[in-house]
Symmetry: C2
Subunit: 219 residues, 2 copies
């Protein structure tokens, strides 16, 4: 790795850990990329959110929100529709977590092992992987990686229930904590659990910094 | 300063820089406090947002959102209504920025020098100051400090228009960049411009880290 400025694509899933992208994980991802001297472009699918939650009562609200518009809040409006994503414009792909990943980017939250991945998301992930580009997945996002690629090594934190769902398809799930990453060298996939565990924001930040550094090394 | 764990109160103004709290500034404030080994409690007023914007078109949306509920997204639901704030439970108060400060916590965005501050916010700021507790204000939040206390030294980045609005009431506005802080020792007030300027997230992070460190020294 020389001092080339790398281009990161970051896919967001809304705005807020209970129905969208996990805000801390998303912001800390952007911070980590920028602090390392690299560039990022945020993307999100232009689709309705699967649900909108009241973050104090956890009740579903009778509201419609759009994943791209809500994600634009985290990206400070500097965001593109995922339908405009071209893998060739980027060196690295990162998927922060949050329930929005499991509701809006795929259907893991409702369908478990019968989950489907949003075609735009699957296409982005497959294109990056097929061209040998590294992918980072945070928190619950590794379910997408596990579902799409099967025989990969990832972490779901210490969630044995999720581990068990993906084991039959050849996924190797490694338990770890928020300050650590799990590396699949052969597939250039790096994962970290973040708030899959009851972590402090500084621990989440440490895990994300390690993930970004590892992805950079893999380019 | 010994190694006492300090209690920070953080007042949020929604979720998103154009109609609520600036998300990056809010998250980086929490990160900085936690990384320094201290504790935070987020607060927000339980009031309707003044407006809800489409973050891609900047058009106003025909939607109603609540400041406390939206702020809860940044706080991962660990938030209290500002009406429950008791100054005596905290050592330091921090106000992150975002347009929501100028629309929801006060009326600076619409009323300029005729602005009013939400009574709960003014009460919190006055109680902290009267009891000698340090206050940190980011981005546009110093307008509240300037309006309430008049003869203080703060920064509005390099916004000469805002500087001119507050100069007649005795406010000393010091121009600076996102990586720097402005300290009013006598009043225990620390400010940093963040995204008042066209800054990178890593620069904003640096300014916030300096602000939090300075506030800790002032306790």
């Amino acid at each position: 790795m020389d001092s080339k400025i790398l281009r990161f694509a970051v896919i967001l899933a809304g705005c807020g850990n209970k129905d969208g992208a996990e805000i801390h994980e998303s912001v800390l991802t952007l911070l980590s990329i920028d602090r390392a001297g690299h560039q990022y472009q945020c993307f999100a699918p232009d689709v309705p959110q699967a649900r909108v939650l009241n973050f104090l009562t956890n009740a579903e609200m009778k509201e419609e929100r759009n994943v791209l518009l809500e994600s634009a809040r985290i990206a400070r409006s500097k965001i593109k529709s995922l339908s405009d994503f071209k893998y060739d414009d980027f060196d690295i792909l990162v998927l922060p977590g949050g329930s929005g990943v499991a509701y809006n980017l795929c259907t893991f939250a409702t369908d478990g092992d019968k989950m489907k991945v949003l075609p735009q998301v699957e296409a982005a992930v497959r294109a990056m992987h097929a061209s040998g580009r590294p992918i980072g997945a945070l928190c619950i996002s590794p379910v997408i990686i596990a579902h799409v690629f099967k025989k990969v090594q990832v972490t779901f934190g210490k969630d044995e229930k999720i581990n068990a769902i993906f084991q039959p398809s050849g996924v190797k799930a490694v338990n770890t904590d928020a300050r650590s990453i799990v590396i699949d060298e052969a597939n250039k996939i790096v994962t970290t659990p973040c708030y899959m565990l009851d972590a402090r924001i500084s621990e989440v930040s440490e895990g994300i910094d390690k993930l970004i550094q590892q992805l950079i090394k893999m380019v």
